[in-house]
């Protein structure tokens, strides 16, 4: 506990002293960096891999890499994979469709993409983060980039999660397929999946299907969590065809549908969540001059989300809340490699249409239904240019990246516009914003030391909910939320540093990042407004706070006890305050995880412990309370069996061994997490 208190003190001091940093200083810093670096003495020859990106990559499809050991739980949901990231926490409203947060920031501050494609959820209550519309069967990797380093695929404050689709990519592998099945005891989840792929040097096609069905889960102590069931399936196909030696056409389609999804932490469930995600692409090795790897893509996706409360007993008023989000977009990018430079040029754009409505049925059947548009058919058009340069500076590397974008939002529905004009009579139908991002990231090695540091500036436009939401009920703080189309852009100034020490057996990494976010967008109570939702405590309007500060730091250790046996440990501390030194909600308490992993030739075993300290820095105005400390343990065993050419991989494990009843700071309304759970997965691959 002493350590925690010390860390807390250090951070508080840091945050107090760093207030006056202005973004001009930061920008100046970025430009001054190269000069400063140039003066450094060369210590070591360049590493074979440029490790300037602090991206974290989570391997999802191990099948092609034949690296099953690295997966703690092969058929787990994508959400569980993402949760294994050091910077990602998942907000849980039930057993399904967790919302990823990165650096303790939510979806509106993140850029979440699928193969670079922008998708926006169709639920006004964030019940469908876009990570819920793909499944592990579609994906090979998740790239997690912190802060402005994630600006490649779109404007962001907190960072980016890009989910990379799994594809054959013209490798000479021929036909191969696989069958997978899994079962989890706690919520009786059964999973069945299959894939069939073909790839040669001219043509590839990957197809897969996965189906999951789960009943209610039980928290520790055999407490059934009502309305936590779900059922979903996902089908995808993607292929490529070489029209010439250096040119290829690609296409992909994903169809994902979930039905009967329970959200125990919310007052409503979901009867349908469906997405169609499709793209066609063109790839060419050379463009003109020295431009290489030209890659372009056209895409569209259509998300439909229908909330449903007909299965809930005792609702004060029944309501239908469907939402739709359609996005059309493109991007085109190419690399330019010069002597010491590696440039990436990218242009991209998207057009999104977000519409959501609410119909409430009065208890008196003679009264007419009550109708409102909660998202007034907002059309967002965004076009941007992204340029990055990785510079080799004789022993150190510098990556400079910038994104410039213009974004227009237009309220297309007259009914919705008039609704908002009740609050903002002078409101314009359309609003255009310029969005800017610039970052510099520097990497230097003095073996065995690695040093990374970065400074960046970026801003973002308010999300559809923040700008145009109309009486959106947040069950966490029990308030109705109303958007403000006049919000100014939120601006983030960020500094990060990472230092690691690496010897053959031992690796130690300490890192920290600090965000000073000007005009931080958050809901503030307006006592003059009357609640809409029956039982709500008040109405909040999205406002720009003067600023907020966020600080994240972690210490990461790895020690190879034996070549097959590795120990890892991670501790992290987070802090977020606003300009009045009030706590920002949803900031992680001190947390830790530790694991012991044995990887033999065909046998593997792992023991993992995760936990967090008491959440002392919480904000009751946002519905938070003191979340208690917890520690949970899990144990897994894996074994590979070979039959002729084919192989079968079995993984067995038990999570939350001691059946602890706990919830974390990200659990919506403190719904308890799953209790003891046994799982078994079998993957059979046919080569």
């Amino acid at each position: 506990m002493k350590i925690i208190r010390c860390a807390h003190k250090v951070c508080t001091i840091l945050m107090a002293t760093s207030k006056p940093i202005s973004w001009r200083v930061l920008l100046l810093g970025i430009f001054l960096f190269p000069i400063y670096i140039g003066a450094q003495e060369l210590i070591l020859q360049r590493d074979s891999i440029i490790t300037i990106n602090l991206d974290e990559v989570i391997l999802i499809s191990a099948r092609k890499a034949l690296d099953y050991h690295r997966q703690p739980k092969p058929l787990s949901t994508l959400d569980e994979y993402l949760e294994s990231s050091k910077k990602v926490d998942m907000v849980k409203r039930g057993a399904y469709a967790w919302e990823p947060t990165l650096n303790n920031m939510f979806s509106e501050r993140l850029s979440v993409t699928i193969d670079g494609m922008r998708i926006f959820g169709a639920c006004t209550d964030k019940m469908d983060p876009i990570t819920s519309y793909v499944d592990v069967s579609n994906l090979s990797k998740a790239h997690i980039a912190s802060g402005q380093q994630g600006a490649e695929h779109g404007t962001t404050i907190g960072g980016a999660i890009d989910l990379e689709l799994d594809r054959g990519n013209f490798k000479e592998t021929g036909f191969y397929g696989g069958l997978e099945t899994g079962f989890e005891s706690n919520n009786q989840m059964s999973i069945v999946g299959a894939e069939l792929n073909y790839s040669d040097s001219n043509f590839y096609v990957d197809t897969d299907i996965i189906y999951r069905k789960a009943e209610n889960y039980f928290a520790g102590g055999d407490e059934e969590v009502q309305f936590s069931q779900f059922e979903k399936y996902n089908v995808s196909a993607n292929g490529g065809y070489k029209i010439a030696e250096d040119r290829a056409l690609t296409a992909s389609i994903i169809f994902d549908e979930a039905r009967d999804v329970g959200y125990p932490a919310l007052t409503m469930d979901v009867s349908l969540a469906r997405a169609i995600i499709a793209s066609v692409g063109f790839e060419q090795d050379d463009l003109w001059g020295s431009l290489r790897d030209w890659k372009s893509k056209l895409y569209f996706n259509k998300v439909t989300h229908v909330m449903d409360d007909t299965k809930r007993p005792d609702v004060p008023i029944h309501m239908d809340m469907p939402g739709w989000s359609d996005t059309y977009g493109f991007f085109s990018q190419a690399f330019l490699r010069l002597k010491k430079h590696q440039f990436l040029f990218k242009v991209d754009g998207y057009y999104n249409k977000s519409l959501a409505e609410m119909t409430m049925y009065p208890n008196d059947p003679n009264e007419l239904p009550m109708f409102m548009l909660t998202w007034p058919d907002v059309r967002t058009t965004n076009a941007g240019v992204y340029v990055e340069d990785e510079l080799n500076l004789n022993g150190s590397f510098l990556k400079i990246a910038t994104r410039m974008a213009v974004q227009n939002q237009n309220v297309a529905d007259e009914f919705g516009l008039n609704s908002l004009r009740i609050f903002y009579p002078e409101m314009e139908k359309s609003k255009t914003r310029f969005l800017k991002s610039i970052s510099g990231q520097w990497h230097k090695m003095w073996m065995p030391w690695h040093f990374n540091a970065g400074l960046s500036y970026g801003d973002r436009a308010p999300s559809v909910t923040e700008g145009y939401g109309f009486y959106l009920f947040n069950s966490f703080d029990n308030h109705d939320y109303i958007g403000d189309p006049g919000l100014v852009n939120e601006k983030s100034m960020e500094a990060n540093a990472k230092i690691s020490w690496e010897k053959s057996k031992f690796k130690l990494t300490a890192e920290a990042n600090y965000f000073h976010i000007k005009d931080y967008i958050i809901g503030e109570v307006d006592p003059s407004l009357s609640v809409m939702t029956i039982g709500a405590d008040g109405v909040k309007i999205y406002k720009n706070l003067e600023y907020a500060n966020l600080f994240n730091t972690s210490l990461d250790m790895e020690y190879a006890v034996l070549p097959e046996l590795k120990w890892t440990g991670l501790i992290s501390y987070h802090r977020g305050t606003d300009n009045n030194q009030e706590n920002i909600p949803f900031i992680s308490p001190f947390s830790y995880r530790s694991g012991l992993q044995y990887n033999g030739r065909s046998f593997s075993a792992g023991l993992r412990i995760t936990g967090a300290a008491k959440q002392v820095n919480y904000n009751p105005d946002f519905g938070e309370d003191l979340t208690q400390a917890y520690t949970v343990c899990s144990l897994t065993f894996g074994k590979t069996f070979n039959f002729n050419n084919d192989s079968m991989y079995a993984k067995f494990g038990v999570e939350n061994i001691f059946d602890e009843n706990y919830s974390t700071y990200t659990d919506w309304k403190n719904i308890p997490r799953m209790g003891r759970n046994f799982f078994l997965t079998l993957s059979y691959s046919i080569n």
Binding site: P316, I317, M358, M360, P362, N363, D364, E367, L368, P369, M370, F371, M372, F415, N418, S419, R421, I422, F423, P425, F470, Y471, S528, L529, S530, V531, M532, I534, G535
Partner: protein, 287 residues
């Protein structure tokens, strides 16, 4: 030469006369039927004439504010009398007494000189034993005629209160009627109401310079209210009380009101609070 001169003079005189007599012309304009888009509520045959009553949107007389268009047809040649002088008197025949209601004068419209326009505010519907009639007294071609017709006044089809008759704390009976919105929207609507006091059974003059506070609520939504409403104040040009009404969603709204006189004394109505869900003075809307 003379004949030509006199011809030109006659021609010019005719032209001048023809062009400046349009206002005072007693000949009906033979244009398109000005009432084509309106609903015929009643056609009363008497005295060799047919007195026709029209409404712009309604199919019948309802309690509350009724805008009514009147024209008189000469049954002999199917033409309509221009600039008819009409007065009207609606009367409710109750079991114990008779009384009238607030009404305007009937004035010929600017657009069509065969059409007169006015409003009647019925405070109550008729029923099996009690009924409304309207006596029209009109002068056409220099002769005065009179007729009385019984009419059906129904409560609005949605049963919502658009007019209220009440005793103020000053012991004066008032009638307050909502004129607008007739087509409410999820938006900031213009709200217009008219206030009359009952001088006697037959006289209901307009009350000026009072004010009406407005607090719209949705009883089915836990008495949800809306922001940016504007209380109704007297507009001497329109002779009505005008304000702004915000409606955040469709459905049933109860517009809770308070009537204040020109010195700010509350004559009727109460504030809506947690304990007091509604005012005794209110209008209703459902859309």
């Amino acid at each position: 030469m003379k004949t030509i001169k006199s011809f030109i003079v006659t021609f010019i005189v005719a032209l001048v006369l023809g062009s400046c007599t349009s206002d005072g012309d007693d000949t009906p304009k033979m244009d398109e039927n000005p009432m084509a888009e309106f609903n015929l509520l009643a056609s009363i045959a008497a005295n060799g004439h047919s007195l026709e009553l029209y409404s712009e949107g309604n199919n019948g007389f309802t309690t509350g504010y009724n805008e009514i268009f009147v024209r008189i047809k000469n049954n002999a040649d199917e033409s309509y009398f221009a600039n008819p002088q009409i007065t009207w008197l609606p009367v409710m025949h109750m079991s114990s007494m008779n009384h009238s209601c607030p009404k305007s004068d009937l004035a010929v419209t600017e657009e069509h000189n065969t059409v007169a326009k006015g409003y009647i505010i019925f405070q109550m519907p008729g029923n099996a034993d009690e009924f409304w009639d309207i006596t029209f007294t009109y002068t056409v071609e220099g002769q005065e005629y009179s007729l009385t017709e019984t009419i059906d006044v129904a409560a609005p089809s949605d049963g919502k209160q658009k007019v209220t008759s009440f005793m103020g704390s000053d012991d004066i009976r008032y009638v307050l009627a909502m004129v607008e919105p007739t087509d409410p929207q999820v938006a900031i609507n213009d709200i217009r109401a008219m206030l009359f006091k009952m001088e006697n059974m037959m006289s209901f003059p307009i009350v000026e310079n009072y004010s009406v506070t407005l607090d719209p609520r949705m009883p089915s939504m836990g008495n949800h209210s809306s922001p940016n409403n504007v209380d109704l104040t007297y507009d001497s040009n329109a002779k009505s009380y005008n304000g702004k009404l915000s409606l955040t969603m469709t459905g049933y709204w109860k517009l809770n009101l308070k009537l204040l006189n020109d010195t700010g004394v509350v004559l009727k109505g109460e504030d809506v609070t947690v304990e007091n869900e509604a005012s005794s003075l209110y209008f209703e809307l459902e859309f």
